[in-house]
């Protein structure tokens, strides 16, 4: 991956040059989206905020190791992602299910919807509410892909850099995540029509 134009690079240079208080600007740029990623991974806001805080502390203390090959955001999200996954792994070691809210996913769920046009009939606010609920129920790998792509606005390559997964796996997870979201939303709409 070649050098990437990074809007944060100037601030990183300023911090390295001794203007350390500009780290607050970097945090303000990334903290909310970082928290969104952590909440999606952990499902617990308080725990997520604690890890985002730890992530920023680690990033600052290791800033010398940031070479600028990737954007600062990508580098930071990798630190945060690793912290979150370590916590998730610890939980699974304590026999807590990772698949808690996700529900079971079958191959049939991952086949593209035959009627995507029905989604256009949903009101914008209703769609937002449905999506917010359904993203939280996606299997972890799909949830990570959808969040990194739409909230962190990372490219496929950057997502691979953050998660350490192959590019093909990232694309597949993102596609399957979206397919599953569409199907679940359509299914909920059908249920609502049946009930009413």
């Amino acid at each position: 991956m070649g050098p990437v134009k990074d809007p944060d690079q100037e601030i990183v240079e300023a911090i390295r040059a001794g203007n350390t208080r500009r780290y607050a600007v970097l945090m303000d740029r990334h903290k909310d989206r970082a928290l969104t990623l952590a909440v999606r991974l952990l499902g617990d806001r308080e725990e997520a905020e604690e890890l985002v805080q730890d992530g920023f502390l680690r990033a600052y203390n290791n800033l010398e190791q940031f070479r600028g090959d990737a954007r600062f955001g990508t580098w930071f999200y990798r630190i945060l992602y690793n912290l979150c996954m370590t916590r998730v792994t610890r939980r699974s070691d304590r026999n807590r299910s990772l698949d808690g809210p996700e529900g079971e996913v079958t191959e049939k769920d991952l086949i593209a919807s035959d009627d995507p046009g029905a989604l256009q009939q949903i009101e914008e606010s209703e769609m937002r509410d449905l999506l917010a609920a359904e993203v939280g129920r996606l299997p972890e790998s799909f949830r990570v892909a959808v969040t990194l792509f739409y909230v962190q606005e990372l490219s496929y390559e950057e997502m691979a850099g953050v998660t350490g997964l192959p590019l093909g796996t990232i694309k597949t997870n993102l596609f399957r995540g979206r397919t599953l979201l569409r199907k679940r939303i359509l299914s909920r709409l059908k249920d609502e029509v049946h009930v009413s």
């Binding site: 350390t20 208080r21 780290y23 903290k31 502390l57 046009g117 596609f175 397919t179």
Partner: protein, 185 residues
């Protein structure tokens, strides 16, 4: 190449919407979309779904988040905070002053230093409390004499040990309290 009679597979439409196609593939999809209303409609649906996903609410950190992290890094606008040890020395000085005043008061009122206790109810209670504290201190001193014989001597080493013990204890309490308070902000 996409045949004119076929419809574009959904994964290809999605890749087109994501901007993830190679130049040739992208041109082929564009060409097909210009002549196929059904695929165009599907493409619009995917775009709308994408827009909805981009519009998902973002979590907000608490108002003090940045200030808290800057504080923990020692980068607060107010400058590096006073080291905990210096603060604790202040607390220790305050504690010693209070103890000094109390001891002076006891000596002056005769609770400590030769005056009989039967000089009134208040002094009786005070004397009782003094005995209670005294026996506690005596027990602690006994424990120290057993396990740290050097600490109970009257020399500089013994005094230094007590001062170090108190400062270390205050530092631990202060550290724990600070971490807890900062987490709550």
């Amino acid at each position: 190449m996409i045949a004119r009679t076929d419809h574009i597979p959904q994964d290809l439409i999605q890749a087109f919407v994501d901007g993830g196609l190679e130049r040739e593939e992208e041109q082929a999809v564009r060409a097909h979309l210009s002549s196929c209303g059904e695929c165009r409609e599907a493409c619009e649906t995917f775009r709308a779904f994408d827009d909805a996903l981009r519009g998902l609410p973002v979590e907000k950190t608490n108002a003090a988040f940045t200030a808290t992290v800057m504080h923990l890094l020692g980068l607060s606008p107010a400058g590096r905070r006073v080291p905990s040890l210096a603060e604790n020395m202040g607390y220790l000085a305050g504690l010693l002053i209070v103890l000094g005043v109390m001891v002076s008061a006891f000596v002056w009122t005769g609770v400590i230093g030769g005056v009989e206790a039967e000089q009134g109810l208040f002094r009786g209670y005070l004397s009782g409390a003094g005995d209670f504290v005294g026996s506690g201190v005596e027990a602690f001193a006994g424990w120290l004499t057993t396990f740290f014989p050097f600490a109970f001597g009257k020399g500089a080493l013994g005094i230094s040990f007590f001062v170090f013990l108190i400062v270390a204890l205050l530092a631990v309490v202060d550290h724990l309290a600070e971490r807890r308070l900062l987490r709550k902000t």
